[in-house]
């Protein structure tokens, strides 16, 4: 009920933009999954299918000059922040036209023009870097909000606590956005964290404004993160947002892995019923914001954009072998 009211409070343009970004990430990652078995994308890929609402709901509140950083599962964050699609595909194909010229691959996406400030696969390692980037920007007199995206396993790393402590100490404009998908590779949360404490309570223990929400409800993500961004811009310091969600596919790679025994099909199907895309689509249909034929047209437009990006990536040249060591040092 409350949710419907919030939905109704958002203007149509915002709702349509949220939907467009949401379905776009889903379609891009489904294409990656479809193409990956061709063995031409020769780098590890960590798909966020099932978790897209967090990327979109948070980034919709950011300005282009704000900055977002991420970890290994970063495709959604990169795209939601406005990262270039052609450069992303080209990077995954190891091409010189990629967003890091073939040096990084799927685990090291970057788009400075869009304010996507880098991703790395060492769990939690961009969290203090994002905090430092927020501090550096403030020292330079720049008005920027920093967002660190990470999974719940990163809250088990020392640097998470070190960074949250410092961000609160300095009242830095940072959003710590935790996508709690309950698994670190195959290890469930139950073997990694105590059962009498929620993830967000750890950040609250550091004195940080901390909330928990449904990561598969894009409107809830949007609303909670809007409040956090407003706090950051006002100078009220960092926020920690825990969003519960679920990764549909295997930890790394294009396939489903419910058969190997670390989680059940029932659990997966339960989460599939809460698909953030279908759920939002149904809400918008009900509100008559996105009639089915318009959804279909939008999907078609996005598929064409993806066709173009994949063709660009496949037809782009590989880096020259002479570039192997370039950029080891800045000149």
């Amino acid at each position: 009920m409350m949710q419907t009211e919030t939905l109704a409070a958002l203007d149509v343009a915002t709702l349509r933009a949220l939907y467009r970004d949401l379905i776009r990430i889903r379609l891009v990652e489904e294409r990656i999954a479809a193409l990956y078995p061709e063995q031409q994308m020769r780098c590890p890929v960590h798909l966020s299918i099932g978790q897209e609402a967090v990327s979109v709901g948070v980034c919709a509140n950011l300005r282009r000059t704000d900055r977002a950083m991420s970890g290994h599962r970063s495709h959604g964050h990169y795209l939601a922040k406005g990262g270039d699609l052609r450069a992303m595909f080209a990077e995954m194909y190891g091409k010189v036209t990629g967003c890091t010229s073939g040096k990084g691959g799927s685990m090291h996406l970057l788009d400075l023009d869009a304010g996507f400030f880098g991703a790395v696969p060492i769990v939690g390692s961009t969290i203090p870097i994002a905090v430092g980037a927020a501090w550096g920007a403030r020292l330079r007199g720049e008005d920027r909000v920093l967002v660190a995206f990470f999974g719940e396993a990163a809250t088990e790393e020392g640097v998470f606590h070190e960074a949250v402590n410092f961000a609160q100490l300095k009242r830095l404009p940072v959003l710590f956005v935790c996508e709690n998908n309950m698994y670190s590779v195959y290890s469930p949360l139950s073997v990694r964290q105590p059962d009498n404490r929620e993830v967000y309570q750890m950040a609250a223990g550091h004195g940080v404004h901390s909330v928990q929400g449904d990561g598969n409800d894009i409107v809830e993500v949007y609303t909670l993160s809007r409040a956090a961004v407003d706090r950051a811009r006002r100078g009220d310091g960092p926020s920690f947002l825990e969003f519960k969600t679920y990764r549909w596919r295997e930890h790394c790679g294009p396939f489903y892995d419910n058969d190997i025994g670390y989680r059940t099909s029932d659990e997966f199907q339960e989460w599939q019923r809460r698909d953030p895309v279908e759920r939002f689509e149904a809400q918008l249909r009900e509100m008559q914001v996105m009639p089915p034929e318009e959804c279909a047209r939008l999907r078609q437009t996005i598929e064409q954009e993806i066709d173009d990006a994949v063709a660009f990536a496949k037809s782009s040249p590989f880096p020259d072998p002479a570039e192997m060591a370039s950029f080891t040092y800045a000149e």
Binding site: K103, H108, A133, V159, T328, Y329
Partner: protein, 348 residues
């Protein structure tokens, strides 16, 4: 204009001139603005530049290194300090995976202009975890630069070069250098990273020395000179990149080489120097030698530590063996062996 300054004063002055000319330079670390000011090397800076640019930090080496990297990526030029290199080991993840890689792995689009100062302790019972010389670990990592100045002149000139460099620079200081004096020019000047300095010219043997061992090498060279052996002493100053040309040129002249490092031999930088000499096929008249630490952790008791650290006499004896001669011993210093000079009264 040059005047005599101590090593720590030279570091302080380098930081001061960098902060005065560039508002993006900041210095941070546990204790930076405290009453001791990193053995005097940061004293007075917070009064001049304020607590944001001269910042104390939580005791969280890895996370705060990430913060420094983030600030550098955002356009600042941070100097980070560790009162002991051993504490900086907590930050290896951020230094090796992040600082060293961001320029490369993002295709040249990101830069990490970061200086990380680390101090190697020695004596007065510093023991296994306050005295490690792990420069070769950092020198092994592409993307990092590693410098180890010996003189006050080079401490200031190399720190300025390091702050101005667009790469992460590991700036390793030896605690026993802090109190030595030497001429230091006023204002801004640079000692280039990657250039060695010939501290003393000689014709019979080349001593390649790293950090504090350069002072022991000089003592050995002066002693040997009185006994008819002319030693050239090269202070390497930079380990990555390092000045192969200066070393090779000297060996072509002398045909003999001793490398002396503040670290142990096993997989240490002294081995890298000898490997490059061998690969270059330089004609050596006698096998090369190394004067380094024993292959054990650092003992704490002064009775043990006295036998742990090699000194000028060990370098001299090594060279005497190369010439098949035996001359007198170099006299031990008149003060206890676990301090650099009588002014040092502990505790660290």
């Amino acid at each position: 204009m040059s005047r005599d300054l101590k090593f720590f004063q030279a570091l302080n002055e380098a930081t001061d001139v960098c902060m005065a000319k560039d508002p993006t330079v900041q210095i941070m670390g546990l204790g930076v603005p405290d009453p001791k000011g990193i053995f005097g090397s940061t004293l007075g800076l917070v009064e001049k530049y304020g607590p944001e640019r001269v910042s104390d930090l939580p005791t969280a080496e890895n996370g705060m290194t990430g913060v420094a990297i983030g600030a550098a990526l955002a356009g600042m030029r941070p100097i980070m300090t560790h009162v002991r290199l051993d504490f900086a080991l907590l930050s290896l993840e951020q230094l090796v995976n992040q600082a060293a890689k961001w320029h490369y792995m993002f295709g040249g689009r990101m830069r990490v202009p970061l200086v990380v100062r680390m101090i190697i302790g020695r004596g007065w019972g510093q023991g296994p975890q306050h005295s490690q010389s792990l420069q070769s670990w950092f020198a092994h990592v592409p993307g990092l630069k590693v410098v180890m100045p010996t003189t006050p002149h080079d401490a200031k000139g190399l720190l300025i070069s390091s702050v101005e460099d667009d790469n992460p620079v590991i700036f390793i200081e030896h605690r026993w250098l802090y109190n030595i004096s030497g001429p230091v020019p006023e204002g801004v000047y640079r000692v280039p990273i990657g250039k060695a300095r010939v501290m003393r010219e000689g014709t019979d043997v080349t001593i390649v020395a790293i950090s504090y061992m350069a002072l022991e090498a000089l003592r050995a060279a002066e002693f040997l000179d009185a006994h008819g052996i002319s030693a050239e002493v090269i202070d390497l100053r930079s380990l990555r990149p390092w000045d192969e040309d200066a070393v090779f040129q000297s060996i072509r002249k002398t045909g003999r080489v001793v490398v002396t490092d503040t670290a142990s031999k096993m997989a240490g930088f002294s081995g890298e120097v000898l490997a490059r000499i061998a690969e270059e096929g330089l004609p050596l008249r006698v096998p090369p030698a190394r004067v380094c630490l024993p292959d054990s952790p650092t003992p704490t008791s002064p009775a043990l530590a006295a036998h742990y650290y090699p000194r000028a006499n060990d370098i001299a004896k090594t060279i005497e063996r190369m010439f098949g001669v035996t001359v007198a011993e170099i006299a031990e210093p008149p003060h206890p062996l676990d301090i650099p000079d009588p002014a040092f009264t502990g505790p660290f």
